[in-house]
Amino acid sequence: MTLALETSGLRKVFGDLVAVDSIDLAVPRGSFYGFLGPNGAGKSTTIKCLTGLLLPTAGTCRILDMDPFADPVSVKRQVGVMPEDLALFDRLSGAETLAFVGRVHGLDKASVRARSAELIELMDLKSAAADLVADYSHGMRKKISLAAALLPGPRLLFLDEPFEGIDAIASRQIKDLLTHYVRGGGTVFLTSHVLEIVERLCDHIGIINKGRMVAQGTLAELRSGAATGQSLEELFLTIVGATHANGPALEWLQTTR
């Protein structure tokens, strides 16, 4: 099995806070990898380390057989990212954002035009393509950020919460597009809190909790040790050790009293 992404002992520390604690990731090429974890578990920090926005405190990493810390530019040419903050210029229009990304990746003008037109059509942004991103709604920003990640035709996609804030129609279109992309040999590494979507799309799952990898493998492998018929949500809650019984009862919330 060739790996698109592999880390060994990846660690990121901020002062006293260990955000990512020696994690070992193994993402096969051509897989749809769901990276799950509760809020504050270290998912976004891991993605930032992998995409060069943060420098890991320790550990090694290989992305598409390249070292992202030694040769970041070569890695970035092969990778598309939709980060947490969406990474958009407020004062560029949607179309100009795509033109910028295409130009930075060294695509010729005709390719940029053709790809942008298709992506804008797909994301249903045609009527807003010339508007500044500053005037976009949150969902529209998500769509243009995803389009920007896809435009250079990357071999590996990092998507941080891609389905949050997107309408059902666009969500369906994006799911189809990503599935098509993976079938064509691309690799997707996504984080999401919508476990139903992850369950339906992803063939590989990694679960991080309090900075540590607590489970990794195919969905079938993760289910092998669990009760039969467990959903991913139940599996996830079991693995991260979160149950309703642990929480306070909030008796004062009983409005019928």
């Binding site: 930032k48 060069g52 210029f89 560029l92 954002t97 910028f100 130009r103 940029v112 010339a130 508007d131």
Partner: protein, 570 residues
């Protein structure tokens, strides 16, 4: 209602206090940077405290002297009247100048909470009293009354202090009214930014009008004043009689009459004055409440205009640049010229110095300034230097103004050196547009002088920019600050330290070019030397600074993590 007021007061205090706190993810350099950023508000606060003490002392002495008839009460009161009318104008200008600075979006969270809108309005009005200008006036008004009380005129003091309190209510309500009206009228980003741009440009240009008109009507600046002929004295009575009748209704005038009546021992007339001031305060409060309701109502609305779809545009490719440098440079130009700051940098210096030149040119006399105004290339050079200063919002914060756009650049296959050069070339293009406008404006008012000197002024400006370039990159990487260039106030400024350095260094680096031009024109009297000299100087600066920029670009790699955090506004 009291608990809501307490909660909102606490909220405001925490928001203020938390601006001083740093995040946890900071290195030593970032901590020094933040410490410096905190130092500036502390200096401002210290200066304000000093001003308040000085004003309070003066007003206290004035109040005491007025009631004891050591000075004419009218004299003391006219100072207060002047202060109050200036205050009303300041409130009007500051507030109308800042629709793009405040966002009504901050109300959204509060509107979701069970807080009556009346309370929100009251808090906003009362919060205006914390404005430093109003704090100064409040100190003066209260100390004036206190001075009377200490002199033993308790009734006059009470009436004066009451009038002062009502006057403060007028000021707070007036400030709130203007603020809410502007917030409501310019609730869309486009309109508010356009309005800010027009107001700032108008204020800058209109400030020249008195001088311009005076020089036209002939104040005879060049005419020597005859000895023994003093300016005619204007008495307070004459001044008051000259005022139009409508000005009597102004709150500052009502306040003045009330205080004079109190000092003169006419409590009934002073009482009428208090009633009038109270009515004006109530009317302004009622109007501001209506404007507040309108503004909050606008939060739910907001239609977005959609233009027809356009194909992606990437700008003309810049010759000799890699695609990455070219893309970064164009992104810099486009994003900058779509902000209020960017448009001001480009649009303002040229017309400003043209107007200055035209104004000085009308003054009959042979001063150096008048002579300089007739040398168009000097005006052009001055405009260029001023543009360099204005451009500091971009050049001294190359990585802080893009916000999430910087994340996109950091995620893209762009080398640090390409990022630095792209940013610098983008800034140079913005300066180029400003230069073109400066050139047209200078040619319009003073199309004289040798073409060699015009070219020399241009080359000198470029050489100054080139010399500054490594400093731009280095300081921007060391002191990044998330800024919003749609703001004309401090929110759009770079970090204080680079700004301070830039202010000094720009002048020093412009000096060699200026010296060459001046020497060629006034000493050697051979313009061609100016042209050759600045061209050689430009080549020297390029030879020095290209490697220095490449060296400075290394600091981007070292500071990449901090830059990424700045891009996220942390």
């Amino acid at each position: 209602m009291l608990s809501s007021l307490r909660a909102i007061t606490w909220l405001r205090w925490r928001l203020l206090a938390n601006t001083v706190r740093g995040g946890k993810r900071r290195d030593r350099m970032e901590q020094i940077s933040r410490a410096f950023a905190v130092f500036v508000p502390i200096v401002v606060a210290a200066m304000l405290t000093g001003s308040v003490i000085a004003v309070t002392t003066l007003a206290f002495i004035g109040g005491r002297a007025a009631v004891d008839h050591v000075i004419r009460p009218e004299l003391a009161v006219i100072v207060l009247r002047g202060l109050l009318i200036v205050m009303l104008v300041v409130l009007l200008i500051l507030t109308t100048n800042s629709p793009g600075q405040t966002t009504i979006g901050r109300y959204t969270r509060l509107l979701l909470l069970p807080i009556p809108r009346g309370v929100l309005h009251l808090v906003e009005v009362v919060a205006n009293l914390a404005d430093p200008w109003i704090v100064l006036v409040a100190a003066a008004l209260m100390a004036f009354g206190a001075g009377m009380a200490v002199a033993g005129h308790v009734m006059a003091a009470l009436l004066t202090i009451t009038a002062g309190l009502l006057m403060l209510a007028v000021l707070a309500s007036f400030g709130a009214l203007v603020s809410f009206l502007v917030g409501w009228l310019f609730r869309s980003r486009r309109r508010s930014e356009l309005f800010t741009l027009v107001v700032v440009a108008m204020l800058s240009l209109v400030s020249f009008l008195p001088m311009f008109l005076t020089s036209r009507t002939g104040d005879r600046a060049g005419e020597p004043r005859r000895p023994g002929r003093a300016r005619s004295q204007i008495s307070i009575d004459t001044f008051d009689r000259a005022l139009p009748r409508w000005t009597r209704a102004l709150p500052s005038e009502v306040y003045g009459r009330t205080v004079l009546n109190a000092v003169a021992g006419n409590p009934v007339d002073a009482g009428f004055g208090l009633f009038a001031l109270g009515a004006e305060a109530a009317l302004l409060y009622f109007c501001s409440s209506a404007a507040h309701r309108r503004m909050l109502g606008a939060l739910e609305g907001g239609s977005r205009r959609r233009r027809a779809a356009e194909l992606p545009t990437a700008g003309l490719p810049l010759p000799g640049l890699s695609p990455a440098v070219d893309a970064v440079a164009w992104a810099e130009v486009k994003t900058a010229l779509r902000t209020v700051r960017g448009r001001l940098v480009v649009l303002l210096p040229g017309p400003l110095f043209a107007l200055l030149g035209a104004t000085l040119g009308r003054i009959p006399g042979e001063t150096f300034a008048v002579a300089a105004s007739q040398h168009g290339h000097l005006l052009f050079g001055l405009g260029l230097t001023f543009s360099l200063y204005s451009l500091q919002a971009f050049t001294m914060n190359l990585f802080g103004a893009d916000r999430a756009g910087l994340t996109l650049q950091l995620l893209s296959p762009i080398r640090d050196r390409e990022l630095a050069w792209g940013k610098l070339i983008g800034s140079a293009l913005i300066l180029g547009v400003a230069t073109l406008i400066c050139l047209i404006a200078a040619l319009a008012v003073a199309p004289y002088g040798s073409p060699f000197l015009w070219i020399a002024a241009f080359l000198g400006g470029i050489a100054t920019f080139v010399l500054l370039s490594p400093i731009f990159v280095w300081l921007s990487a060391l002191f990044p600050l998330a800024s919003d260039l749609s703001k004309t106030g401090s929110g759009g400024n770079p970090h204080g330290f680079p700004m301070l350095v830039g202010t000094v260094v720009t002048l020093i680096f412009a000096a060699p070019s200026a010296a060459i031009v001046f020497a060629a024109e006034f000493w050697w009297k051979r313009p061609v030397i100016g042209f050759v000299g600045t061209a050689v100087w430009l080549l020297i600066t390029l030879a020095i600074c290209v490697p220095l920029v490449n060296l400075a670009a290394r600091s981007i790699g070292a500071r990449r993590e901090n830059l990424a955090l700045t891009a996220q506004g942390r």
